[in-house]
């Protein structure tokens, strides 16, 4: 029977844990959006850097706080590989279904951890586990998906529920829709006969 949920691939990937990490990523990206300043020179590149770093910072902060015992870091560099329980995970921004070359790249540390973790023929062993953060055109987070990538295809995609995670309330918003042209107020004559009949005596 095909596995659908992350915790079916590995018991450490619980729903609660994935939701906690997803909330950090949403918060990081939205905090970056709040600081977006086009006039000062921000563009997609600076925003992308800041957004990734803000997410990375939140994850590492959580690791360092020690409050989440299941969250640890393998690689604290800008590549950022962290672990949920024993499973190595990375993050990227983009469509879960269309990973890029960079997204697919796996570091030695990550591969080694997977080898240790999964039995030789376990189907979870050769997957790269990622959080894919999908954003709207304005940069606000639309969805966070937990993805298992095999080669170039995503064999596991689980949409992390973001209930309880505040929607973006910062300074980007959404483009307005077109202005609606309104017709003049309609005025018609009443046609019911009783008007004339009822008023015949007036």
């Amino acid at each position: 029977m095909a596995k659908i949920y992350p915790w079916e691939y590995h018991q450490d990937l619980t729903e609660e844990r994935l939701k906690i990490v997803a909330a950090m990523l949403v918060d990081g990206r939205h905090a970056a959006l709040e600081r977006y300043d086009e006039e000062a020179g921000d563009n997609g590149w600076t925003h992308g850097c800041r957004a990734f770093q803000f997410c990375r910072h939140r994850v590492l902060q959580a690791v360092d706080s020690g409050e989440l015992v299941w969250l640890t870091a393998i690689d604290r560099t800008l590549q950022l590989i962290f672990k949920i329980g024993d499973v190595p995970v990375r993050i990227y921004k983009g469509d879960a279904e269309e990973p890029t070359d960079r997204t697919l790249r796996q570091s030695f540390g990550e591969l080694r951890q997977l080898e240790i973790l999964f039995p030789e023929h376990d189907e979870g062993r050769d997957l790269a586990y990622r959080f894919a953060v999908e954003t709207d055109i304005d940069g606000s987070v639309l969805a966070v998906k937990f993805v298992g990538l095999r080669g170039e295809s995503a064999v596991l995609i689980w949409d992390v529920p973001l209930d309880g995670v505040p929607a973006f309330a910062g300074s980007v918003g959404r483009a307005a829709t077109e202005s609606v042209e309104l017709a003049p107020p309609s005025v018609g004559l009443r046609t019911d006969d009783d008007i004339a009949e009822g008023s015949a005596s007036a």
């Binding site: 918003g173 959404r174 829709t177 309104l182 017709a183 003049p184 018609g188 004559l189 008007i195 008023s199």
Partner: protein, 367 residues
Amino acid sequence: MVGTQVFDGERLRLARVAKGFTLDELGSRVSATRQYLNQLEQGTKLPTEEMIQALAAALGVTVRFFTLSARGGVSAEQCHFRKQRTTPVSVVSQVLARGTLLDGFVDRLDRALELPKVSFPDIPVTSTADIEDAAEQAREQWMLGTGPISNMMRVVENAGAVVSFFGGVSERVDALSIDRPRPMIIRSEAKPAACRLRFDLAHECGHLVMHKGIVTGDKVTEDQANRFASAFLLPRSAFIHEFPRSRMLNWNAIFEMKLRWKVSASAILRRAYDLKMLSADQYRTGYIHLSKTGQRKFERYDDVIVAEEPELLPSAMAALEQAYPGAVRRIAADAGFEDDMFESIAGLGLPEGSGPDSTNVVSIIRN
């Protein structure tokens, strides 16, 4: 001829207050004492035929006006206007009296014509978030999207409100709304700046949506109506998307927004402040800039944005007149109005000419 037996003193008071006359002022016009007129209004004395005619002439109503049964008058909680509690009682009474008279006329029109169905949603609010939601819900109900409101007058008129103008009412009352089966929005200034009028209409729209059955006029409800107007004209998400983000206020961009959204620069600044896109200091700086550059009352581009005109009442009268020549005058006469009283409550003149001989016409008015 009106028999003195059917003279209704309450109708006399209504017409007098609607005209803004004190008992003394009316007394001097009809050569009577204030005590005598007070007795007529109280119903403790009945006037002579001559006095009835003199009163009718002085007040711009027909003799018949005094004999009509008083339909439920407009009460204070149905009437929303700014500073109601600090507005002199005489002005409040005048507004209520005119509202009552206009309501009587509109009710007659409503029975003769198919006017837009009244569709103001009823959304009580307590928090700022509620108000933002109410504005969004209203936009959604009226299918306005999140873009600029092309014509605020049409929004409220298509939602069934009649918009009129009360000439000669104190300037303290700049706009008000009356929550009747067919709501009425009244302006006291004939031609305010376009952006100001749009904001006032959205403000009154806010009262009609959020404050059904609530006595308004205090700071809380007025602030709520202002916030509604702001949120309705400049929806949160779209505003956040468009408002220029920078350390210094970008006036060119702000005035471009003004032209696009037809909302004053001062209201745009306020919206940015309310949405925490401007700090208190930035907001103050912006306000001072507008003030120092003489734009507190008349802003840049106020002369470019075309003022919106009420269409419902004029079109209703035109449609009726076209179908039944003379009908509008007959309805006005049925309500007991002469030309000048009609103009003071409807903000419009009666159609010229008396139309066909009324004795040959079957009236469409349902009594």
